[in-house]
C-alpha cells in the first residue's frame, strides 16, 4: 500500500518534470547528458586548475551563461532562427573582414575583437552561422542539391574559412569548413562527388603545404614524430601521451596526477584537460566521458531524424555531428592521434567562448525538435 503510494508520488514527480521540460521546450535525455558532461567537466577542472576554486567558479559562471543562452535559443521559433541565419552570416563575415584588416594593419595575428568588456572571436560565431546559412539555403531546394546550389554552398563555406585561416587560425578555419561540409553531406551530396572532393583535398593538402606558416608546418611535422622536437612543439604531445599512458586503467587518483599537478602537462585546464582525466581517472574515467559524449551525439542525431523540416534536420544533424568532431579532434590530439590544433574539449575545457556557442547550438536543436511538427 505504502509502496504504491511512493510509486505514484514518483510517477507524479516525473510527469511534472516532463511537463516543465516540455514547457521550456527542452529534451530531457539530451539535457541530462549535457548536464552530466558539464558536471564531470567542473569536477575535473578543480583538479586540472591545481585546486583553484576561482577557476571552477568562473567556469560555472560561463556554464550558467551557456545554459541561459540555451534556454533562450530553445524558446526561439524555428522561423526566427531560419530568418536570422543569413543576417548572422553577414554580420560574421563583416566582423571577420574587420578582424583581418586590423590584423593586417597591426602586422600581427589577430583573432578577436576587443569589445571592451570581453573579447569576441567572429570565427566562433561563424561555426554556427555557416551551417545555419547552408541549411537556410537548402531549405526549399530539392535534395540532393544540384550543381548551382553546390557552388553557392561552396562560396558560403569557403569565404569565411579562408578569412579565418589567414588570421591565421587554421584550426577554427577547418572547423568552419567541416561544419558547412557536414550540412552538405547530410543534404545528400552524391558519393561520387564526395570521393572526388576527398582526392581533391589530398591534392590541395599537398599544394597547401607550401602555403602553410612555419609554425603550422611544424605542428604537422611534430605530429608525425614528436621526438624531433621534445622541448619545442613536440613537448605538448609527448607530455600528454605520458600523462594518459601513465594513468593506466584506474588512474593515479583524483588530484594525484603527477604530470598534471607538477605542470609537465601544458594547458592542462584548457585544451589538454582530457589528459588530466586520462591520468587521474584512468581509462575508465576517459571511457565514461566518451560514453557521455556518444550518448549526447546519438540522442541529438535521433532528435534530428525526427524532424520534418529540411532546415531543422540539416542544422540539427550538423550540430550533433560537429559536436562529436570537436570531441574527436580534441581527444585525438591529446592522445597523439591527430596533430595539435587548438580545439577545446566540449563543455569540459576551461575558458573560451566554445561552451557558450555549443550550448546555444543545443538550444537551437531543442527548439527545432520541440517545434518539429509546426514546421513545413
Amino acid at each position: 500500500m505504502l509502496r504504491e503510494e511512493v510509486d505514484s508520488t514518483a510517477r507524479r514527480t516525473l510527469t511534472q518534470t516532463a511537463r516543465v521540460l516540455g514547457a521550456l521546450r527542452l529534451d530531457g535525455p539530451l539535457l541530462i547528458g549535457l548536464a552530466l558532461i558539464a558536471a564531470y567537466g567542473q569536477f575535473v577542472l578543480y583538479s586540472a586548475s591545481g585546486g583553484d576554486w576561482g577557476a571552477v567558479l568562473r567556469g560555472s559562471v560561463r556554464l550558467g551563461l551557456g545554459v541561459l543562452l540555451m534556454l533562450i535559443f530553445a524558446q526561439l521559433k524555428p522561423g526566427v532562427l531560419r530568418r536570422l541565419s543569413p543576417w548572422l552570416y553577414a554580420l560574421g563575415l563583416l566582423l571577420l573582414i574587420i578582424v583581418d584588416a586590423v590584423g593586417y594593419i597591426g602586422k600581427g595575428a589577430q583573432r578577436w575583437l576587443d569589445l571592451g568588456f570581453m573579447r569576441f572571436q567572429p570565427s566562433e560565431l561563424m561555426k554556427l552561422a555557416v551551417p545555419m546559412t547552408c541549411a537556410w539555403l537548402l531549405r526549399e531546394r530539392a535534395l540532393p542539391p544540384d550543381g548551382r546550389t553546390l557552388l553557392s554552398l561552396a562560396a558560403i563555406i569557403l569565404v569565411p574559412t579562408a578569412l579565418t585561416i589567414i588570421q591565421p587560425d587554421l584550426g577554427t578555419g577547418l572547423l568552419i569548413l567541416m561544419a558547412g561540409g557536414i550540412v552538405v553531406l547530410l543534404a545528400g551530396l552524391s558519393v561520387r562527388i564526395i570521393v572526388g572532393l576527398g582526392i581533391g583535398a589530398i591534392l590541395s593538402a599537398w599544394v597547401g603545404w607550401y602555403f602553410l606558416h612555419d609554425y603550422q608546418r611544424q605542428r604537422v611535422l611534430t605530429f608525425i614524430d614528436p621526438q624531433t622536437d621534445p622541448l619545442g612543439s613536440g613537448y605538448h604531445i609527448i607530455q600528454s601521451t605520458i600523462a594518459i599512458g601513465s594513468g593506466g586503467i584506474f588512474g593515479k587518483g583524483y588530484l594525484r596526477g603527477t604530470q598534471g599537478q607538477l605542470e609537465f602537462l601544458p594547458e592542462r585546464s584548457t585544451d589538454f584537460v582530457f589528459a588530466v582525466i586520462g591520468e587521474e581517472l584512468g581509462l575508465l574515467g576517459a571511457l565514461l566521458l566518451i560514453g557521455l559524449y556518444v550518448f549526447v551525439v546519438m540522442r541529438a542525431l535521433f532528435l534530428a531524424s525526427q524532424m520534418r523540416d529540411t532546415f531543422a534536420r540539416l542544422l540539427s544533424g550538423c550540430l550533433a555531428s560537429i559536436f562529436f568532431v570537436y570531441v574527436f579532434i580534441n581527444a585525438g590530439m591529446v592522445s597523439g592521434l591527430l596533430p595539435v590544433v587548438g580545439v577545446p574539449l566540449p563543455l569540459v575545457s576551461y575558458g573560451g567562448t566554445s561552451m557558450v556557442t555549443l550550448l546555444a547550438g543545443f538550444g537551437m536543436l531543442m527548439s527545432l525538435y520541440a517545434n518539429r511538427k509546426l514546421a513545413a
Binding site: G188, I242, G253, T258, L262, L301, G332
Partner: protein, 639 residues
Amino acid sequence: MSLRGIIKDFWREQRLFEQRAIAAVVIIATLALLLVGRLVWLQVVRYDYYTDLSQGNRVRIEPLPAPRGIIYDRQGLILAENQPAYQLELVPEQVPDLDATLQGLVRIGLLDTDDVDDAKRTVRSRRPFDSVPIRLHLSESDMAAFGVNRFEFPGVDIRTRLARSYPHGETAVHALGYVGTISAADLARIDREAYAGTSTIGKVGIEAAFEAPLRGRNGSREIMVNARGRSVEKLGTLQPALQTRPGEPGTDLFLTLDLEVQRVAEQAVRDQRAAIVALDPNNGDVIALVSRPGFDPNLFARGLTRAEYAALNDNPDRPLFNRALRGTYPPGSTIKPVVALAGLTHGIVEPNKPFFCVGYFSLPGSSHRFRDWRPKGHGAVDLRSAISQSCDPYFYSLSNQLGVRRLNEFLGQFGLGKPTGIDIGGEKSGVLPSPEWKKTAFKQRSAQVWFPGETVIFGIGQGYMTSTPVQLAHMAAILATRGKNFEPRLVRALRDPRTQRMTELPPTPLPPLQAATAEHWDLIIDGMRAVMEGGTATRSAAGAPYSIAGKTGTAQVFSVAQNARYNESAIAERLRDHAWFIAFAPIEAPRIAIAVLVENGRSGSGTAAPIARAVMDAYLLRKFPPADAAAPAGDVSGE
C-alpha cells in the same frame, strides 16, 4: 512544382537524410572506437612504458656533494678548508638558448667575453640535467646584478655550495696545490657520476695527489620536481617515497708541513725566484716546501677568468712553476761530499793526503784548463779543506780517477737522477749523466760520445747533471742519517671526519746506503761541518747553538769561455749563477735536512746559506723573525 512532387520529394528527402544520419552514426561509432583503441593502447598496453616516463619526469636525482677533507699542518693548523659560497649554475636542458644566455650574462657583467667559449665547452661536456657551475664565488653585487635580471635567464640560478678556501693564501701553495673548475680534459678521465654536483677538482699538489680521499663520496637524494625543475614537497594527498643515499665526507689530511717554519722559509725568499725543501731526515717528513714566487690558490678555487690566468701564466717569474719539484738545476758543489764519499769508498781518496791546488786542473796530455772558482787556487788542501773550501781541482782530479760509471752509480744511491717519490707527484728526475744516457739524449752520433772532460765537470755537479731542490734535500737527509733513506712525504696521517679516527701513515723507507763505513761518514760530515766552521758558509753558522753540516754550491747558468774574464756586472741578472746550499743539523742527532736554491742568487754562501739558517733556527729553536722582516741580508763574498 506540383503538390505530389513536393510530397514525393519530402519522403525521398526524409529517407535520404535518414541514410545519411545512419552513415553519420556509423562514422561516429568508428571514430569513437578508434579513440577507445588509442586509449587502450596507451593506458593498458604501453602502461609500464609511460609510467616509467612519468616517474622520470617528476623524480630528479639531486647530488649531495660531500664536503672535501680539511688539510691540517703538522701542528693541527688549518691549511685548506671549505666555506659556503654562492655560485652561478646552469642546467643545460632548461636553457632555451645557451648562446643568448651567456651573452646576457656578459652584458650584466657576470661573465667575461673571453670566458664565454670556455663556459660553453663546460656546459656542453656535462649531462643536460646536471647543474653546471659557470661562475664561482659571486660577490654581493654580482648576486644583486643577477637578482634583478633573473627573469631573463631561465635555467640559470644561484646556488650555495661549499667552496675550497685556503686561509693562508699563497703560503705553501706549491705543496698544497689547489682545486679548480673541472675542465673538459678532467672530465675525460674522471667518473662523471662521482663528480655530479661537484664543481671543482684537485689540480696539482696534495689536492690532486690525494683527490680520492679528500673528495669523499657524493651522496644523492631523489626529489620530486615540477616542470620547471623546482623541488616540490608534496603533491595533493600523495607523499611519494623518495630515496636518499648519503655520501661520505672527504678524509681530513694531516701534513708533515710545519706552517710556522714554512712561513719563515717563504719570508726568507719573498722577493726571489727560489725553492726551499726541508726534510726530517729520520722519516722523510717534509717540514717546509717552498717555491717562490707563488700565487693565491683561492683564485683557482674561485674560478679564474681567462685574463687572470693569462697574467699568472705569462709572468716571466713563472709563479705557477713548482721549482722545488720541477725546477732542474746543475747541483754544483753541493754534491762534493757525496763525490768525496765515493772516493773514500772506492779507496781512491786518502783523507789526509795533501793535494796542491793551482787554480785549475788539466787532463793528462791536454792543455784545456778546468778552472777553480778561485782564480789563484787554494794551495795545499786535504779532503776536509777541499770540502770546506769547495776546491774544484781536488774534485776534478777525484772524478777523473773515479770515472763516470762509478760517479753515476754512487750519486744514484743518493737518489739523484730519479724521482724522490715524494707523495704529491709531479716531480722531475733531473739528469744523472752517463755514457748510456748521452746516447739516448742526443740524436746526432757525434754528440753521443762521452768525453773524459765531461767526467771531470760531472764531479763538481756541472755539465749535464741537473737536480731538483727536493732531490738535494733528500740527498742532504741521506748524508745526515749516514745512509738512511726515506721517501719524502707531505701527508703523515688521515682522519675519518665521522669517527675522528686517525690513520697514521708509516714513513716509506728506501734501501739504506751500506757501502760507506762509519769512518768514511765521519770524514765527509766533518768536512761539511768545516764548511760552517771556517769554510765557505762560516758567516751563516755564526752564533748557532747547534752544530750544522752544510755545503754551498753554485750552478752555472752558462759556461764562461776559456780565459775570459768573469764579469758579473756585465751579464743580465737572469744569467747570473744560481745559488745552492744544502745542510743538516744538529750533526749529532739530525732533525732537519735542507736544500735551498736561489735562482740567479750568485753565491751559495752569501745568498742561500743564510736562508737555510733562518729555517733551521725556526724549526730547531722555534725562533721566528718578525713577520715583516726582510729576507736575511746576504753579502756576495763568493764561494
